[in-house]
């Protein structure tokens, strides 16, 4: 899973639209979806005062009251102008650092910068939300196309679930300065999660109006299943040989297994200079690993067998945790799910692919055909239900772990 870094965005979105007076006027009549302007208590008082003074002015024809009314209305206009100036030139970018895992704290960083020449920005707040999307993807509950009321509802629900929060920018954002806001949350479900900056809001300058701008800033990520605690049992394997078995799997023994292209982070000692000189591109050596026993995981997700509830989630978590543990000890060769082709696991990236696959795994509606089943082999671990909600891992017909 790679880092999700969005582009810089501002109050008017990514693309800077050309300013037109007609556009400005039209925006007053039909504001952009998601934008909210709600009067606060001082705002309601101001409006009430203006209304009362206006009524008194018309009833008494008193120019003193008309002056006061004019001043109150001018203050309201000033408030709007300052609010616009405050938000102008502010840009933000959402940075989401993987991996995300159910139940583990995830930090979302919003980088900020103020592009104005000499005006600082004050008193902004940012409403974040994280929502697991269903199979329909972005269409489900997008805040970009949602109305203000829908957004409010979405955010309220997210906040109630602990998947949304309002973070205030307490410090001043200086002209040409940068800042960052961090939001942490714990994903509640595995799957495809969308972290969104739902709105940028402010009470600046006078607190008359609570102004919120809907934004299109978001980042998608996969949430891996939560680690599951399980008990293991040593498996007696009759074919196990002393000294271990040489397997075609990446490791750190002295036997050269293959060559591959250089990737950033590879040790320079692994570069195969001769081969690199011949081919004209950097190649690194891959060695075979020593292993006492290598395993393959095969996961069946038949709905008839697992249902859709807690046991299924336990199965997914179990498969992920076991894969990680086996990989960590260098004993994982392949993984596969249902009838999908087996995935060799040589590098951490392969394990990430497996966890990503598990993140979006769903109960299979149809039973597997016989030819879709992987051939029976030594070290193949499969899973089966156990009791009311338990899951067991089976290898060579014997239970090797319980969860």
């Amino acid at each position: 899973m790679s880092s999700h870094e969005a582009e810089w965005e501002g109050p008017r979105g990514r693309a800077r639209r050309r300013f037109t007076w007609s556009g400005l006027l039209w925006s007053f009549i039909y504001p952009q979806r998601g934008n909210r302007i709600v009067p606060t208590v001082p705002g309601v008082i101001l409006i009430g005062l203006a209304f009362g003074i206006g009524t008194a002015a018309y009833n008494s024809s008193s120019n003193i009251l008309f002056i006061t009314l004019s001043l109150l209305l001018a203050c309201l206009i000033l408030s709007g102008v300052l609010s616009w100036l405050n938000l102008r030139g502010v840009q933000w970018r959402l940075v989401l650092a993987p991996p995300l895992r159910v139940g583990q704290v995830t930090t979302v960083v919003l980088e900020l910068r103020n592009q104005k020449r000499f005006l600082p920005t004050y008193g902004l707040w940012f409403e974040f939300s994280a929502r697991v999307m269903d199979d329909a993807g972005a269409a489900a509950g997008s805040t970009i196309s949602a109305s203000a009321a829908e957004m409010k509802r979405i955010f309220a629900k997210a906040a109630a679930d602990g998947q949304g929060e309002r973070i205030a920018l307490a410090q001043r954002l200086d002209p040409k300065g940068e800042g960052r806001v961090e939001w942490t949350f714990r994903p509640a479900r595995r799957g495809r999660v969308r972290v969104e900056l739902v709105a940028v809001g402010s009470l600046f300058p006078f607190g008359f109006l609570r102004k919120g701008l809907g934004t299109a800033t978001r980042a998608d990520a996969l949430v891996w299943p939560a680690p599951v605690e399980y008990r293991r049992q040593a498996v007696a394997t009759p074919r196990r040989r002393a000294g271990g078995e040489r397997v075609s799997r990446l490791g750190s023994s002295g036997d050269l297994l293959a060559l591959r292209g250089y990737a950033q982070g590879d040790s320079h000692r692994l570069i195969h200079w001769k081969a690199s000189a011949k081919t004209g591109k950097l190649l690194v050596r891959q060695f075979a690993a020593d292993s006492a026993q290598s395993h393959a995981l095969w996961l069946r997700t038949d709905a008839a067998m697992w249902g859709e509830g807690e046991r299924f989630e336990r199965l997914i978590g179990f498969a992920g945790t076991m894969a990680e543990d086996l990989f960590r000890t260098g004993r994982l060769m392949r993984v596969s799910i249902n009838g999908e082709p087996p995935l060799p696991v040589r590098r951490p990236r392969d394990l990430e692919i497996w966890l990503n696959r598990l993140a979006v795994a769903l109960p299979a509606r149809e039973a597997l055909e016989p030819e879709e089943r992987p051939p029976s082999m030594a070290g193949l671990i499969t899973f089966a239900p156990d009791g009311a909600s338990g899951v067991i891992a089976i290898m060579s017909g014997e239970v090797t772990a319980w969860a």
Binding site: A74, V81, P120, E165, A170
Partner: protein, 743 residues
């Protein structure tokens, strides 16, 4: 969750400092609001003084509110409510009681630590006092006060928003009674001022000032543009407050009362005249006619009231005794300050009178008098069309009665000739008449002149009258003496003498003269211009003649008028300049109505149209001139001249391109105004040049200095000019990098 920003070059106020600033602004707001009480004329001086003192004390020592005992907070609400109820019950005036309640709440809000809603309450309370004072006084001070208040209130709201943003929702918990917030423990006004100076960016300050100027401008535009409807009703707050007129201008006066008014130099009346040709050199602004004299008191008799004052009516216009005449009407617009009188000053009989706001009033056309029902608590504006400036008040009905008297002998007092004196007093007055007239029996006008001269011979004018002690009528005693006296004594004595001689006579009080403001072009009449004079009935003309024993003696008809009269009263002093602002306020703001709005909009339209036309005409003229110049015959001389100009322009452009950027950099270096520090930029430039040179040990020092200028703290800098000079020398002497030299 968390938040951070990059290191800020300017410091930022801490939460404690923001709270302290909020507190100070709230105190200032309170003081501005209390300032309005001074011209509201509500009896709340003690309460206002206490509130102001407490506000200043708590502003300077924010720790003081923590010392207020807890039971004060417990009892505050019931005590304040009880105070208000008792106040209304005891005095029976609602609006003053509300104002006092407002001040009391302001006091309480300044001796307790305020939450957000309390700050809002403070703003509303202060605004209420200012609006009430503005509506009731219609004073130009209101505009200044409202602007200052608005600036303070906006600043307070801004600080409240920033403090809330910094503190977050958790910090909004109410403070326990008697507890002192952390910011108050460390509060120091001098420190706060120092911090504010450090925090403020002059550009932001300038922008803030410009924006506030924009608010004022937008307010003015909105004021002009807000649609007006003439609803023809009034008495909005006025009905809730009573105001007493200054003594001397009621329908009953004693000797000495007018003199008291003369000590007051404040403005009583401002008058606009549409046609300056009609301005008299010595105008008399008549207000009240006092026909009855008894026991040393002149008063307007009930009989005269019943007979002359028409029934009360409500509205904005009323007719007078003068008939419409041909030619363009002359309009006199009066702005009568509050507290002067409910009797409106007028120059004489008039054709029509109209009020800016609807009024309850009674008119006496034959007396040239208009009386409002109540003493106006606010400035009263009215406009009069066409005065009779002859100085006489025709009264045909009285003339008929007077003639009837000679035939049928009706009661004397009805004809304003009653003289309730003892025989001895009659003898004194009779002797005075005889001395004045020399035993002759002149006409009314001549008698008034002779009597006036006699009075001036016998008595000097003085604001400190010398009335001999003794029994009987004080006025007769003064008449018989040679003591000095004021206008009232002169006018009263003339009335006695005229009545003794058989002429109907009466006293009229009002103002005489006034100054002509050379800036705003209007009459300004002050309370010190208060005057009393006599009117004597002339049987031959059937009119009351003005007879002022202290006047010039010239008749009104013979007076100079127009520009000469203006010149004789012209006032272009600094005081007049200040008074002109008041007049501007009355003309353009207070009297602004639907018609004025239409006129203003039309004026704006005309100006826009005419200026557009003017610009177009000028452009056309310029284009025509260029065309004409090009079409003129070309010769060597002309060609050379043009070539020279083109060459000069080219040279200027080249010079600008060659040396302009350098000059600009030096200028920026000197001024220090750019986004990036010019010293740092210049240091970067020299570092770049030095980097192109071959490294040498002797460069290390200047490179270090340049690096310090480029990236180091300002305190560690050497003198930039000296470093740049050394850098220039080093670059000149250094060998370029990579160049091979031959030996």
């Amino acid at each position: 969750m968390g938040m951070s920003t990059t290191a800020a070059p300017r410091p930022q106020l801490t939460l404690d400092e923001l709270h302290h600033l909020k507190w100070v602004l709230g105190s200032l707001l309170t003081l501005v609001g209390l300032g309005a009480v001074f011209y509201l004329e509500v009896e709340a001086w003690t309460l206002t003084g206490v509130t102001a003192a407490c506000t200043i004390a708590t502003m300077l020592r924010p720790g003081l509110p923590a010392r207020v005992p807890g039971f004060v907070h417990t009892l505050a609400f019931p005590l304040i409510v009880g105070f208000f109820i008792a106040d209304v019950w005891r005095r029976g005036e609602v609006l003053p009681a509300i104002v006092r309640l407002d001040i009391l709440l302001l006091l309480y809000r300044n001796i307790t630590y305020r939450q957000r809603r309390d700050d809002l309450q403070l703003i509303v309370l202060g605004l209420f006092i200012i609006i009430v004072a503005g509506v009731l006084s219609v004073s130009p001070t209101f505009a200044v006060q409202l602007l200052v208040f608005a600036a303070c209130a906006l600043a307070l709201l801004l600080v409240v928003t920033l403090a809330d943003s910094l503190a977050g929702p958790a910090a909004r918990a109410p403070l326990a009674p008697g507890a002192m917030p952390a910011w108050a423990k460390r509060a120091d006004v001098a420190h706060l001022i120092g911090r504010l100076r450090a925090v403020l960016d002059w550009r932001v300050l300038v922008l803030g000032t410009v924006l506030f100027g924009g608010v004022v401008a937008v307010s003015a535009l909105l004021f002009l543009a807000i649609p007006r409807f003439q609803l023809e009703n009034s008495m909005f707050l006025e009905r809730f407050i009573a105001k007493k007129a200054k003594t001397g201008f009621s329908d009953s006066i004693r000797f000495g009362d007018v003199t008291e008014i003369q000590q007051d130099t404040s403005i009583a009346l401002s008058v606009d005249v549409s046609d300056h040709k009609h301005i008299p050199a010595s105008p008399y602004w008549r207000m009240i006619v006092l026909d009855s004299y008894e026991g040393g008191v002149f008063r307007m008799s009930s009989r005269l009231k019943q007979r002359e004052l028409m029934p009360e009516r409500s509205g904005t216009t009323a007719g007078g005794a003068v008939r419409p005449r041909r030619g363009e009407a002359v309009y006199w617009t009066f702005y009568l300050e509050s507290g002067v009188s409910r009797f409106l000053p007028l120059v004489g009989p008039f054709q029509t009178i109209s009020f800016h706001e609807a009024q309850h009033f009674r008119v006496a056309p034959r007396l040239a008098m208009v009386a409002l029902r109540e003493e106006p608590v606010t400035m009263t504006a009215y406009r009069v069309e066409d005065f009779d400036l002859s100085g006489t008040v025709p009264d045909l009905r009285f003339a008929e009665n007077w003639r009837a008297r000679t035939e049928g002998a009706p009661p004397r007092e009805e004809h304003q000739v009653a003289l309730p004196l003892t025989a001895a007093e009659h003898a004194v007055v009779e002797r005075a008449v005889a001395e004045a007239t020399g035993g002759a029996r002149p006409e009314a006008g001549e008698f008034a002149r002779l009597a006036g001269e006699w009075l001036r011979r016998q008595h000097a004018y003085s604001l400190a009258p010398q009335i001999p002690a003794g029994e009987g009528d004080a006025l007769v005693r003064w008449l018989a003496s040679r003591g000095s006296g004021h206008c009232e004594l002169f006018a009263g004595s003339l009335v006695l003498m005229a009545r003794e001689a058989g002429f109907p006579a009466r006293i009229v009080t009002g103002f005489r003269g006034g100054s002509w403001n050379g800036y705003s072009n209007n009459f300004t009449i002050r309370n010190s211009d208060a005057h009393a004079w006599t009117e004597i009935f002339d049987e031959r003309s059937g009119a009351w003649l003005r007879a002022d024993p202290l006047g010039s003696g010239a008749s009104a008809a013979d007076e100079v008028r127009g520009e000469a009269a203006v010149a004789s009263r012209l006032d272009r002093s600094w005081k007049a300049r200040l008074d002109s602002l008041r007049m501007l306020w009355y003309r353009r703001i207070v009297s602004f109505d639907q018609q004025a709005q239409a006129e203003a909009l039309q004026a704006v339209k005309d100006v826009a149209r005419s200026s557009g036309r003017e610009v177009r005409e000028r452009l056309e003229a310029v284009v025509a001139a260029i065309k004409g110049w090009l079409a003129a015959p070309w010769g060597w001389t002309r060609g050379l001249g043009v070539a020279g100009v083109v060459a000069l322009a080219g040279a200027a452009v080249w010079l600008l391109g060659r040396f302009g950027p350098g000059l600009w950099r030096r200028l920026a270096l000197r001024r220090g105004v750019r986004g990036e520090d010019p010293v740092r930029r210049e240091a970067g430039r020299w570092l770049g040049r030095l980097g192109q040179a071959e490294p040498a040990p002797e460069h290390a020092e200047v490179r270090a200095d340049l690096l310090r200028l480029r990236f180091g703290a300002r305190a560690s800098w050497a003198k930039p000019e000296a470093v740049f000079r050394r850098a220039r020398q080093t670059v000149r002497t250094a060998r370029p990098r990579g160049r091979v030299t031959r030996s």
